[in-house]
């Protein structure tokens, strides 16, 4: 693992946090949009496994992740303070596919985390998406809206209608696909959202890439623990073949 210092750590909204870690620029130069890091969350052996998080943004000698507090590991992370030392490893996983032509990114909840770096446009080989479709339960849960709004057009939806469309990201996408055609969609969020988007993609004949999650042990391709069933039989390894997959290649049963 590499050592890093906590530069910032704080709540953006109830249960979603931002963590900024120091890292050498020579290491950061290897990070590509869509990749993730794993972070050690305890000083002892419990919890044992480092937790994976996609890189949200890259700064000078630092990178940021957004994380939702869901269990013991993220709870422990939420207690980190500036100056604390943490261990991490990365970059891991495949970057986002490089898409030629106009494409959308769509995020549900903390799923937006992975798109920041892409939208920052720091890597010329990754073209900017045309728009971000972004949904959450309620407006307060739409974190980093200002950040994204300065980078690209953003359309939002909330379950309670407190901001943007009253509805889901799938509703946003449906409206969008009815207006215009896109080369591809990149989607990250909860499983039901991904499933809905994958189905929409199929109906409209537009390529859709899903950012998937599963429990990881190694994140480095060593353990074969992160099996994602392939549509053609057999398994992908989420941590090295993904986390982003062409929806056509995976068995969508996985999203149940």
């Amino acid at each position: 693992m590499y050592k890093a210092r906590v530069l910032e750590n704080g709540e953006l909204t109830s249960s979603i946090y931002s963590l900024v870690l120091s890292a050498e620029d020579s290491l950061l130069a290897n990070f590509l949009p869509g990749q993730f890091v794993k972070i050690k969350v305890s000083s002892g052996y419990d919890p044992l496994l480092p937790r994976p998080f996609t890189v949200h943004a890259i700064y000078d000698s630092a990178f940021e992740i957004l994380y939702q507090v869901v269990g013991r590991g993220t709870k422990a992370m939420s207690r980190l303070k500036p100056g604390d030392e943490v261990e991490f490893f990365g970059p891991l996983g495949k970057p986002f596919p490089r898409i030629e032509g106009s494409y959308l990114v769509s995020a549900g909840g903390v799923g937006v985390a992975g798109f920041g770096y892409l939208c920052q446009g720091l890597k010329p080989e990754f073209s900017l998406p045309a728009k971000l479709l972004y949904g959450a339960r309620t407006s307060a849960q739409l974190v980093k809206l200002d950040f994204f709004s300065t980078l690209l057009p953003v359309e939002v939806a909330t379950d309670d209608g407190s901001l943007g469309l009253k509805g889901t990201v799938a509703d946003l996408l449906l409206a969008e696909l009815n207006k215009q055609s896109y080369q591809a969609i990149l989607a990250c969020g909860p499983k039901p959202m991904l499933k809905a988007l994958a189905e929409l993609g199929r109906t409209y004949g537009v390529k859709i890439f899903l950012v998937l999650e599963t429990l990881l042990a190694c994140g480095t391709g060593y353990c074969l623990g992160c099996a994602v069933p392939s549509r053609r039989g057999g398994y992908f390894k989420l941590c090295v073949d993904g986390p982003t997959f062409d929806a056509e290649e995976i068995d969508l049963e996985f999203l149940r």
Partner: protein, 285 residues
């Protein structure tokens, strides 16, 4: 450092080996290989195996539960596509074998007798398959026959990997009698994790990591006093101190498994810690 031991003709200048199933099959870079004596491959079977459906993993207190189900490309693809790549990594290679029957194991042993590997490790202890694996360990007689038959066909380093839930002593004696060169003590411990309560869903798998160290340490300690075969310890090695403890309890070498999953830079760290402690204890002199 002046660490040096031999198991048969097999020389080790570091007590560290990489455990089966915890470093892939050489697809991905592994840091620190200069500090290990051998790579033990993921279990290889006669025919390709797809492995178990997800979930394959669960976290446990100070441990990891896995049920990979021996996903592997089968011996022919392994020999053709994987072995050459693994050989290029540098260390000696020991192939971990999975069979459902004595015939399977014999077939595999024959295939590797003339292959460019230093030895084989018979996995009679995988808790995650329906046939073979741990079920062999139910009878010392079966194990004797298995090892005896394999021995006739394989002249290089022959290791048998025991299950901690078997009657280890009887199984160990059977291996000794049948001509094995060493024992790996031990595989993962049969364990259960409740993946979800509603609907009720469990993962049956094998427990590895720090949680099992005190248990495997005890097995190594007891076994090393009863059998003459060299013992290669496997279970929860996370630090150089753990290595030293296993050696002090009678192991000849140790395998690193889960530790590498957690920290891909862990081999060097463990080795350096070991080296320092080894010198401090003046074991080398």
């Amino acid at each position: 450092m002046n660490f040096y031991v031999k198991i048969g003709d097999f020389e080790l200048r570091s007590p560290l080996l990489l455990a089966s199933g915890t470093w892939g099959l050489g697809e991905k870079e592994i840091s620190g290989l200069e500090y290990i004596s051998a790579l033990i491959t993921k279990g290889v079977s006669k025919d390709p195996m797809p492995g178990n459906p997800p979930p394959r993993l669960a976290e446990a207190p100070c441990g990891l539960i896995n049920s990979i189900g021996l996903e592997n490309p089968g011996v022919e693809t392994f020999l053709k596509e994987y072995l050459p790549r693994i050989k290029k990594l540098g260390p000696k290679v020991i192939v971990n074998l999975h069979g459902e029957s004595i015939e399977d194991f014999c077939y595999l042993a024959e295939r590797f007798e003339n292959a460019d590997v230093s030895g084989i490790e018979l996995n009679i202890s995988c808790p995650n398959v329906r046939k073979g694996g741990i079920h062999f360990s139910e009878s010392a007689k079966d194990v004797f026959e298995l090892v005896n038959e394999v021995r006739k066909r394989f002249s290089k380093l022959l290791i048998v990997k025991l299950s901690p839930r078997s009657n280890v002593f009887d199984i160990a004696f059977a291996c000794e009698e049948a001509g094995a060169d060493a024992l790996t003590v031990a595989n993962t411990y049969p364990a259960l994790a409740v993946v979800s309560l509603k609907p009720f869903k469990v993962l049956l798998g094998g427990l590895s990591g720090p949680a099992i160290k005190p248990l495997t340490l005890r097995l190594v300690y007891e076994l090393s006093q009863k059998v003459k075969l060299p013992i290669i310890a496997s279970g929860g090695v996370m630090t150089g101190r753990d290595v030293v403890e296993y050696l002090a309890c009678g192991a000849t070498a140790v395998q690193v498994g889960t530790a590498l999953l957690i920290d891909p830079l862990g081999i060097k760290k463990i080795y350096k810690e070991f080296e320092e402690l080894y010198q401090e204890l003046e074991w080398g002199s």
